[in-house]
């Protein structure tokens, strides 16, 4: 059952990603990306990370992608015709991408993976993550909050109309 779900999720994730970057209509692209994100969330549940999965849906699908959608709608890019890329760029990109995939895949799967470890109790639960977040990773966590603040101020400043 889980394998079946995994295969379906993998397929949708891949299809969603490919469609997201290739579809001419950016809105549809965003929707496919959401599909991809939600399938990845399914993966996270399967990989005992329900908290991250919920975050994936709330944060990524619920906030970031809506922001994308907003911007696309705001700019009304539906009719934007996209000219073709240069041929050299295209060929080199595809070749480079292919080589890169092979190399990365080789790097990721080539070495002998360590044996799968036993999962501790409450693995991936909100409590365990929260404890690690507020002890071991406290400083990165606080830094991230500063980063978010800076990004927010930056975004507000960048998008302010007129007077600067």
């Amino acid at each position: 059952m889980e394998t079946l779900v995994g295969i379906v999720a993998a397929a949708t994730a891949l299809i969603g990603a490919i469609a997201a970057v290739t579809h001419r209509n950016a809105v549809v692209g965003v929707l496919f990306l959401v599909l991809n994100l939600v399938s990845l969330a399914v993966f996270y549940v399967l990989l005992s990370a329900p908290f991250i999965a919920a975050l994936q849906v709330i944060l990524y699908a619920g906030a970031i992608m809506v922001l994308f959608l907003f911007i696309i709608m705001l700019l009304d890019l539906r009719r934007e015709e996209e000219r073709e890329s240069g041929l050299l760029q295209k060929v080199l990109s595809v070749i480079g991408g292919g080589v890169f995939f092979l190399l990365l895949w080789g790097a990721a799967t080539g070495g002998a993976a360590p044996a799968a470890a036993e999962l501790p109790e409450h693995f991936g639960s909100v409590e365990s993550i929260a404890v690690a977040l507020f002890t071991t990773y406290l400083i990165p966590f606080e830094t991230i909050s500063v980063l978010l603040l800076v990004a927010m101020v930056g975004a507000v400043l960048l998008t302010r109309k007129g007077g600067r």
Binding site: A20, L47, S85, Q89, S93, A113, L119, I129, I144, L147
Partner: protein, 99 residues
């Protein structure tokens, strides 16, 4: 659902993202491709986390998501500013910063 399969999927998604950045001209789509790459990395992190039985990977994924949110906010704000200036989000129209 072995680690190898997860990493394969992650690599594939990452490559899709890379190709998206390389081949598309729409700045928003490029940002979306970047998000795909980040997600591919997240998938790898979570797969490893599960495989090694350590929560660190999940926490890193959490951080990646937060950074992605910040990146999207600023990135889209930049796209918006560019659009106001150029009436276009085509990144190839932004080639003024050369010699």
């Amino acid at each position: 659902m072995s680690l190898v399969w997860m990493l394969t999927l992650s690599t594939a998604l990452f490559t899709v993202g890379v190709l998206g950045v390389l081949l598309r001209r729409n700045a928003i789509v490029i940002l979306m491709a970047v998000e795909i790459m980040l997600n591919a990395a997240n998938l790898a992190l979570i797969a490893f986390s599960r495989h090694l039985g350590s929560a660190d990977g999940q926490i890193l994924a959490f951080f990646v998501m937060t950074v992605a949110a910040a990146e999207a906010a600023v990135g889209l704000a930049i796209v918006l500013a560019i659009f106001r200036l150029r009436k276009s989000v085509n990144v190839d129209s932004l080639n003024r910063m050369k010699w």
